[in-house]
């Protein structure tokens, strides 16, 4: 079949995207910039900024000198790719083969598609018109080869549609830049006075290869159609979604459970084939009266175990109201992750145990909430309240780089916040003789300390704490501290914890 290609050129891709997101930026001069070799460099300029003399690649400081009130947005490295990918997936409605052409273009293989739109001209008009209506400044061209379509989309001035077999004539008046060449080859061509492709297109191949290398011949061949060019079409991600229509409306819990099991088996089969697992899942039931009932679950680690996921959903089945009956069930996994298959460890806690514990925690989280499950790791802070950090349960992970310190005594139970006490102290910097907490007097017979813990000045300032471990007559042990120093204001005493 005769091949036809469409090349789309987004002249101001990122700035147009910003203007679509924030309509007030439309027709305003602004640039995007990113750090490069220790300075900020302009990466893209908006359509209104280009006539002011701003261009991509100039230093941001220079751009600001030209135009002091310039608005600057930061540029992300993979932004172009992401935007183009989104546009390529959108353009799949026009052709099944869409490829991204970084940094600012798309290539569509439109062979056999345009007649559905009534010909190539209405087809191109439809695509370009829709994109322009969205707010992108876009140009498109159709030709027999990718190279020719690329060249005409960017440099063509006559017609965007190059008839079959006439790419050679279309290329002749275009500048050498239209051949997708490297900067040094272009420089050499310009130096030799080649302003149009037609000036060197008919030269002997040997002479061109000697002066400009193989790349030029390859590009000429690709533009004329004598050399092949490989395309890498985008593969759209299929959503993880399974549906189960029912012959009869379902209105019992057992029926819902059976439907759920069917759907979970289907989605888990696909997930396990792809080595992925579900992190969040939504189960929907479409009722006869048009209303949608849904329950959602989350897992702490990616799972494609239908039994486990069923148990999580099972807890929530009673909250589904079938009313007259549900005629369509649907399960969706909006968040999937790669499943890490742990290696079994002999004689130790096996990798399987982590999974089982993870599943248990999922069940608990499903009933009482994820925020009630807490694990702790040590943190490098002296201040007792800050010495631990909360982490999600990550099986198989030890204390990390830090181990739990045991040099200084720490109580088994900590009061939060510390409770004020009244004390009798014989001398400054001595432990108290007795203290009163909630109306009870505790006589101290043994004491240890003080352990001074200074404020972490980079986080907060204030007086230091002097901690004492004390033991009363009954053997009960307490962790007391004095906030502040005698002789500097009025120090206060607190009870902070109980030792075992």
């Amino acid at each position: 079949m005769h091949r036809r290609y469409l090349s789309l050129w987004f002249r101001h891709l990122t700035t147009d995207r910003l203007a679509i997101r924030r309509p007030e930026l439309r027709d305003r001069a602004f640039v995007t910039a990113a750090p490069e070799r220790g300075r900020m460099v302009v990466k893209a300029v908006s359509a209104a900024a280009a006539p002011l003399g701003l261009f991509p690649g100039m230093a941001l400081a220079d751009a600001r000198a030209v135009f002091p009130s310039l608005q600057v947005f930061s540029d992300r490295p993979d932004w172009h790719q992401k935007l183009l990918r989104g546009l390529a997936e959108w353009s799949l409605r026009y052709t099944p083969v869409a490829c991204i052409d970084p940094p600012d273009g798309l290539v569509l293989d439109i062979s056999g598609c345009p007649h559905l739109w009534g010909g190539e001209r209405p087809y191109l008009k439809d695509i370009v018109g829709t994109l322009r209506a969205k707010g992108y400044r876009v140009r498109g061209a159709i030709a027999d080869t990718v190279g020719a379509a690329w060249a005409v989309a960017r440099y063509g001035e006559v017609s965007p549609i190059i008839g079959p077999g006439s790419q050679r004539e279309a290329l002749l008046p275009l500048p050498p830049e239209a051949l997708r060449l490297d900067a040094d080859v272009l420089q050499r061509l310009t130096k030799l006075g080649f302003r149009q492709i037609g000036q060197f297109l008919d030269m002997p191949a040997g002479a061109l290869r000697r002066r400009f290398g193989d790349k030029l011949l390859l590009r000429i061949g690709q533009a004329l159609g004598t050399e092949p060019e490989a395309l890498h079409p985008v593969q759209p991600l299929e959503p993880y979604l399974e549906r189960l229509p029912c012959m009869e409306p379902i209105s019992t819990a057992t029926g819902i459970a059976i439907a759920l099991k069917h759907l979970l088996d289907k989605i888990c089969a696909r997930l396990s084939k792809e080595g992925k697992g579900l992190r969040t899942g939504i189960f929907r039931g479409y009722r006869l009266d048009g209303k949608v009932q849904q329950v959602a679950i989350g897992t702490s680690r990616a799972s494609h175990n239908p039994g486990h996921l069923f148990r999580l959903f099972e807890l929530k089945i009673p909250s589904i109201e079938p009313d007259l009956g549900i005629e369509l069930f649907e399960i969706e996994a909006p968040l999937v992750e790669k499943v890490v298959e742990g290696q079994e460890v002999l004689w130790q806690v096996s990798g399987r145990d982590h999974v089982v514990v993870g599943e248990l925690l999922d069940r608990i989280a499903g009933k009482i909430g994820m925020q009630s499950i807490r694990c702790y790791l040590p943190q490098e802070h002296h201040w007792p309240e800050r010495s631990i950090k909360e982490v999600p349960f990550l099986a198989g992970q030890g204390a990390g780089d830090m181990s739990w310190p045991i040099q200084a005594p720490r109580p088994v139970q900590l009061l939060s916040p510390p409770e004020p006490i009244e004390v009798m102290v014989p001398l400054p910097d001595y432990p108290p003789l007795h203290f009163r907490h909630r109306g009870t007097i505790f006589r101290i017979v043994k004491a240890d300390g003080p352990e001074r813990i200074e404020q972490e000045w980079w986080l907060q300032t204030g007086p230091p704490r002097d901690y004492y471990c004390v033991e009363d007559e009954g053997g009960a042990r307490y962790w007391l501290f004095r906030l502040g120093l005698y002789g500097q204001g009025n120090p206060q005493w607190f009870l902070h914890g109980f030792f075992a």
Binding site: W404, L414, G475
Partner: protein
């Protein structure tokens, strides 16, 4: 005794031996039914509890069952937590995770390392509603991948404790129920009932500071065992039995609340 044996014919001798063997097997079976399983999942764990272990059937600290701890004051609650942390530390020596279920938790992870328990081996579940504690406990006790489950709760009915005991018998998880200030101490389906109270630490004559944590350990109930009182200290990462037993004098505030005596 020996002279009697001589008079019995070899035939009756065999029947006696058979009978005693049957009785021994039946006893073992009954023990199993009562929650003391011979095939413990942690066969090599030695708790170092010395003479206390003789109080248990088979002279082994029973794992794979439920222990009940009772504390009346905040000081003895801290001691109980310390004692449980010591036991958990020994149980998790070979790895494994523990679940700590409570309603209002005051446990400080840093303090557990002293008792040999790595705090990152613990998963804390802070249950916002008291009535969910039992559900979480049962789920945890049913999970064979856990080493132990600790539950801090106040009240528990006999039927509820039976449910937990049944869960444990299948999964062989060790359960610890810490009941702080229970309104009544009725019978439960737990294998043991403990009471840990703090006691003045011992120091060498004239030395300043605090000694090692030291407790009075009361085994109020133990099924098929001998309850008793012992003194224990936690020294150098293990329990040490203090042989010289004396009733500790607890003057002042502490005496009023020794309700069990």
């Amino acid at each position: 005794m020996i002279s009697v044996k001589y008079t019995i014919s070899t035939n009756t001798m065999e029947t006696i031996l058979e009978k005693s063997e049957i009785i021994r097997q039946l006893r073992e079976k009954i023990m199993g039914l009562e929650g003391f399983s011979k095939s413990s999942p942690h066969p090599f764990v030695s708790f170092g509890l010395g003479p206390l272990e003789a109080a248990f059937p088979g002279n082994v600290f029973p794992t794979g069952t439920i222990h009940e701890f009772i504390s009346q004051e905040s000081s003895s609650a801290a001691s109980t937590n310390g004692f449980i942390a010591g036991l958990l530390g020994l149980l998790t020596q070979r790895g494994g995770y523990c679940l700590w279920v409570s309603h209002r938790r005051s446990l400080f992870p840093h303090g557990l390392k002293y008792f040999g328990l790595a705090p990152d081996r613990l998963i804390f579940v802070d249950v916002p509603r008291k009535k969910d504690i039992l559900w979480v406990l049962e789920q945890g006790l049913k999970c064979p991948a856990l080493t132990a489950v600790v539950g801090e709760l106040q009240e528990l009915s006999f039927t509820e404790s039976q449910r937990l005991q049944l869960a444990v018998e299948r999964s062989k998880v060790t359960g610890f129920l810490h009941r702080c200030q229970p309104r009544q101490q009725h019978a439960l389906a737990c294998a043991t009932r403990w009471k840990i109270t703090p006691r003045q630490s011992e120091l060498e004559e004239g030395m300043p500071g605090l000694g090692h944590p030291s407790w009075r350990v009361e085994l109020l109930k133990v099924r098929n065992g001998r309850p008793g009182n012992w003194l224990f200290a936690w020294e150098n990462g293990r329990f040490r039995h203090l042989p010289s037993y004396q009733i500790p004098i607890r003057p002042g505030i502490s005496t009023g609340s020794q309700r069990y005596a």
